[in-house]
């Protein structure tokens, strides 16, 4: 395919997919006995438009705040733990079992405990996001550090670099693509935990609002809110993808395989 053709395909193919989904959705809601339970796309669109004047900006703001705090802390902690584990075999032997034990436990399992500890409110989704986003970046960073080419480290050492300089100027840049890939994975699970945490234990945010609308039986708004969750998540991922692309500008092969 030509370059322009490829670019056209990159936009047209997803768009036609979206169009197909909208058509199926429309048909399904017509076939369904109850248009309130399964609101058609146009109704959802109107609900979305009507929500603009309501609490929607505040809800989105609350969710983004939950995400910023929880994800920031989680990614920071995961990175720090990975650096600690990478610094010595002994420390890795201490940290790793904890991570391997906690990692498979769904963040949702912690919700009851989090509610008891923090009470219903912001702290529950923040804690869940923190917890969920810690592991993917930990695993990816540690793996990235382990796979740094030993020759680069040797080269730096023989050029006079101290151990600290080797870490900051060789190990971290070399592992950066893995770190960002891990940050993307973390963002995905963070976003899922955000909705779960807000619905079950939160008192604000777009996820919490889904439950609110459901209690008022406004299925069109429930659907609109779900779509907003999806779009925001996609936007955040695109941001990190752009970052990933930037970090790999010195290695076009890696950038292509990541796209």
């Amino acid at each position: 395919m030509s370059r322009a053709g490829a670019r056209f395909g990159a936009v047209a193919l997803p768009l036609s997919g979206v169009a197909a989904v909208v058509v199926v959705w429309e048909v399904a809601s017509r076939l369904a006995a109850n248009a309130t339970l399964v609101p058609p796309p146009l109704t959802v669109w109107r609900a979305f438009a009507a929500m603009q004047g309501s609490d929607l900006p505040a809800d989105i703001g609350a969710s983004l705040l939950h995400l910023a705090i929880g994800y920031g802390l989680g990614v920071g902690a995961g990175l720090a733990l990975a650096l600690v584990a990478a610094s010595s075999r002994a420390l890795e032997a201490i940290v790793d079992p904890f991570v391997e034990f906690l990692r498979p436990i769904s963040p949702i399992a912690w919700i009851p405990l989090a509610i008891l500890l923090f009470g219903v409110g912001r702290a529950v989704p923040v804690f869940l996001i923190f917890y969920a986003s810690m592991f993917p970046i930990f695993v990816a960073t540690l793996d990235g550090i382990r796979r740094v080419d030993a020759r680069l480290i040797h080269a730096a050492r023989s050029l006079g670099a101290s151990r600290r300089l080797v870490v900051t100027r060789v190990v971290l840049p070399a592992a950066l693509p893995s770190v960002i890939a891990g940050a993307r994975l973390s963002l995905g699970v963070a976003w899922m935990s955000l909705v779960a945490g807000e619905i079950v234990g939160g008192d604000a945010g777009i996820g919490w609002r889904i439950l609110w609308y459901q209690e008022f039986f406004q299925m069109d708004r429930v659907m609109a809110a779900i779509l907003i969750v999806g779009v925001l998540g996609l936007g955040a991922d695109l941001l990190l993808r752009a970052l990933q692309h930037l970090a790999r500008r010195w290695n076009p092969a890696a950038a292509e395989s990541a796209a």
């Binding site: 050029l159 006079g160 290695n251």
Partner: protein
């Protein structure tokens, strides 16, 4: 002041045994190496694949410690890498996230040289190795020969006393190799008779290259790696003029006699 030692590097009973962490298998890479590298000489190191040439260099560079014997540099035991011992690797080992200029500046940067001085020095070296105009390129944007020039400039930026070079020209095409050989000799000071030159330890598989460049040739044998022979190359310098001469051809043939059988053995074992 103390008179500088005649020998820059001294290897005393050096042996190296690798122990695989996976299956615990032991590989004896070097055994009983007694040898001195003279200050200012161009020493080439040849020997069949797997005889421990890279191991020898990495012991002198300080990347690993010998399992027996001792390695002395300027009379002191080697304990870790040092900018006085510059290294060039076969696979370039350039920092892919740094430009040509960024790579060349790394050594002075790591040693705390101020920005203006290290920029100027990097630019001088970049011009010297013929990379002018490519300062802002990343390694992946360069040809193999250009990458190797960059690696050379990076090593030279620290003005090391000893140049440890592990098959630096193995990955470039023949024409590039000839050009780079000449440039390497020029940078080392091939034409400056009687001058105090840096000391070079140059590993190569090219036996003609080994003869053309060297003051002395260290011939290693295998299983375990040990010294088989040390050949003096009493040919006049500059050497570029001797390329293809009868003297070089004669010495190359002699060198080939020395290593032919073991080279064939190494290939036979590798293809098993």
């Amino acid at each position: 002041m103390e008179k500088p030692l005649d020998e820059l590097v001294r290897l005393q009973g050096v042996g190296m045994v690798y122990q695989s962490s996976r299956d615990g298998e032991r590989v004896e890479a070097l055994a009983g190496i007694d040898f001195s590298v003279r200050r200012g000489e161009f020493l080439t190191v040849v020997g069949p694949s797997g005889c421990g040439k890279s191991t020898l260099l990495s012991l002198i560079a300080g990347f690993a410690a010998p399992t027996s014997g001792s390695v002395l540099f300027e009379g002191r035991p080697v304990d870790g890498p040092d900018p006085a011992r510059g290294v060039m690797f076969q696979e370039y080992a350039l920092f892919p996230w740094r430009t040509v200029a960024g790579n060349v500046e790394f050594g002075p940067f790591a040693r705390g040289v101020d920005a203006a001085t290290r920029r100027a020095r990097a630019q001088t070296l970049i011009d010297l190795v013929g990379l002018k105009g490519f300062e802002r390129r990343y390694p992946h944007e360069l040809s193999g020969g250009m990458r190797q020039r960059c690696a050379l400039a990076r090593m030279l930026a620290n003005e090391p006393t000893l140049w440890l070079m592990d098959e630096p020209l193995a990955a470039v095409d023949l024409q590039t190799r000839i050009i780079l050989q000449d440039e390497l000799l020029r940078l080392w000071g091939d034409a400056r008779a009687g001058a105090q030159r840096p000391t070079v330890m140059f590993v190569t598989h090219g036996i003609d290259e080994a003869v053309l460049l060297a003051d002395r040739i260290l011939v290693l044998g295998r299983r375990p790696g040990r010294i088989k022979e040390v050949l003096e190359v009493d040919l006049p310098r500059p050497r570029a003029a001797l390329r293809g001469s009868a003297e070089v051809a004669r010495l190359t043939a002699h060198l080939w006699e020395l290593i032919r059988d073991e080279a064939a053995q190494a290939i036979a074992e590798e293809t098993q």
